[in-house]
Amino acid sequence: MSDIPPVVEFTGVHKTFGAYRAVVDINFQVQKGEFFSILGPSGCGKTTTLRLLAGFEEPDDNGGTVRIAGEVVNKKRPYERNLAMVFQNYALFPHLSVERNIAFGLEMRKVPSAEIPPRVKKAMEMVRLDPGQFARRMPAQLSGGQRQRVALARALVLEPTILLLDEPLGAIDLKLRKEMQLELKQLNKQLGTTFVYVTHDQEEALTMSDRIAVMDNARVAQLGTPAEIYECPRTRFVAKFIGESNFFEGVAQSQGPDGWRVDGSGGRFEVPAHPSITQGSKVAIAVRPEWLDVAPPDAVPPGENAIRGTVTDVIYLGETLHVLVAVADGEGERRVTVAVRNEGQLSRPIRWSKGDAAVVCWKPADCQVLEDA
């Protein structure tokens, strides 16, 4: 297992445009058949990273190496890399019909001409585009979703070992997007193709990926499985960007058997031991809304952290309810979001309403200590 090199490997990759550092010290490996996502806000360097892999950009001099199947490809042209890619804007050739678009890559890769039509047909069926209806259409005569499918078919028809996708679902309505997400995931498992998938949609990344590289400001902020990223965000950025988080800050006071006692502006709380915490150091933790609970001030479960506050709002979301609690924060106050399961508001309404005195509580282990306190 360990002698098979990763399909894709970035080692210390830097890319500078003029004086602008678009990508800084990128390191990651993608294994064969993996669904690997690059997730981050607009302008963080996702497309640049993908373009470095595709060969449209070259790393800076002494700016690290990009490897494909173990081989350094820094200087290789895109057409020498045997990849397939779906572009953010699809990039269908406007002067070629759908079938000619899909056949283009096969022609370029010198596939015998007798094999081309059946493979084009198969690729169209794979993305559920009826060949009889769409093969002869021009790209301008297609809807956004259909174009996206053609772009996908044009890439899949090559039976690539690595498929690069740059926000391919960005321009599609929610319902179709959900469907396509499942289909892409299925194709990934079915074909054994390695997917490198760029998105700025955290939900999309969580549902589809085997692993995610979260990018922030030209760097990889965290690399891990969806569960690792969601449940153990290492930085404030990751905790904020993926899902919702409540943050509590304070100063480490004393070490107990299971962790540290922290003096926060809104009250005391305990956190698990963490290598970044020393006596008197600043501590910041992230707590997901569903890890929190609200309790009446006199009924705090024993052993839990508790911070006093006042309910300011209850938001009905269907599956869950969000109870917003204002807690003291230094001189001011801040809002904490607590997610509560909805057990039926008509039969068993929750007891909280605006103005109630309440305590936000959580088990000391149910938090994530952030590295950038």
Partner: protein
């Protein structure tokens, strides 16, 4: 597109402008069929002046020279202009912006100035005046127009298309041939049309750089006008008018080709 109802006064105004623009041309066309040899009164319909054109060797030579000059200067300026547009659009180099700005200088410079300066240049270089010098002069004033037209098309073109071709396995040359050129083609064609039209009816610049031998049709016609006026001038002018009009319409249609980038909506 809404079909807006224009106010009456605006319709009248537009009609007047069009009349002002085109009545002189219409008169010319009508009088090319006038039987009278002199002046402006209508004495009957004839196609005599068209038939007479074929007897005038100078006119036929002029037409031949115009076609030769038009075609060769169009081919050369379209090729060079397209390459230049590609260089400007696709490569970052020092002085690129300046170069783009300098493109417009030949376009806005009065023709007479261009003509004089070309003449001075030819004389300085001891270059013989004749069809070759005319072709060079026409290439010189046409290149800018071609570059501007092709550049507009190139700048509206999605770079991702060429990258998509490359990742699909096409090398630089194949990408250029299969993707760039077809997408650029309408721009190249309308640039060429524009170049040919301008070359075909240029008088001012040609008059400076023409030699003593045969010259282009506009020069021949002007010489005729000065010597003796006869309605075959109207006939040849009508023919030029028709050719020019056809070319302009053709160029316009090509310019209105389908848009290059479709938004992914």
């Amino acid at each position: 597109m809404h079909s807006l109802k224009l106010p009456r006064w605006l319709v009248a105004f537009v009609a007047l402008v069009y009349a002002f623009l085109h009545i002189p041309l219409l008169v010319l066309v009508v009088f090319s069929f006038n039987a009278s040899k002199y002046g402006v009164e209508w004495t009957g319909f004839t196609t005599h002046w068209y038939a007479r054109l074929w007897e005038r060797q100078d006119i036929i030579d002029g037409l031949k020279a115009s076609v030769v000059v038009g075609v060769s200067s169009t081919l050369i300026s379209t090729l060079l202009g397209t390459l230049m547009a590609l260089a400007i659009a696709r490569h970052e180099f020092r002085g690129r912006r300046l170069m783009e700005a300098f493109l417009y200088i030949p376009i806005v410079t009065p023709e007479i100035v261009v003509g004089i300066s070309l003449l001075i240049l030819f004389v300085l270089l001891n270059f013989p005046l004749g069809l070759v010098s005319i072709v060079i002069a026409h290439v010189a004033f046409n290149i800018s127009f071609v570059v501007v037209v092709v550049l507009a098309r190139l700048q509206g073109m999605d770079r991702n298309l060429e990258e998509a071709a490359m990742i699909l396995g096409a090398d630089e040359f194949t990408t250029f041939r299969r993707i760039t050129v077809p997408l650029l083609w309408p721009g190249i064609l309308s640039g060429a049309m524009l170049a040919f039209t301008m070359s075909f009816d240029d008088y001012v610049i040609t008059s400076f750089v023409t030699g003593t031998g045969s010259s282009t049709l506009p020069i021949v016609v002007y010489t005729m006008v000065r010597k003796n006026i006869e309605p075959s001038i109207n006939a040849i002018s009508t023919i030029i008018l028709i050719i020019t009009t056809i070319l302009i319409f053709a160029a316009d249609r090509l310019g209105r080709d389908k848009p290059l980038v479709h938004s992914a909506d």
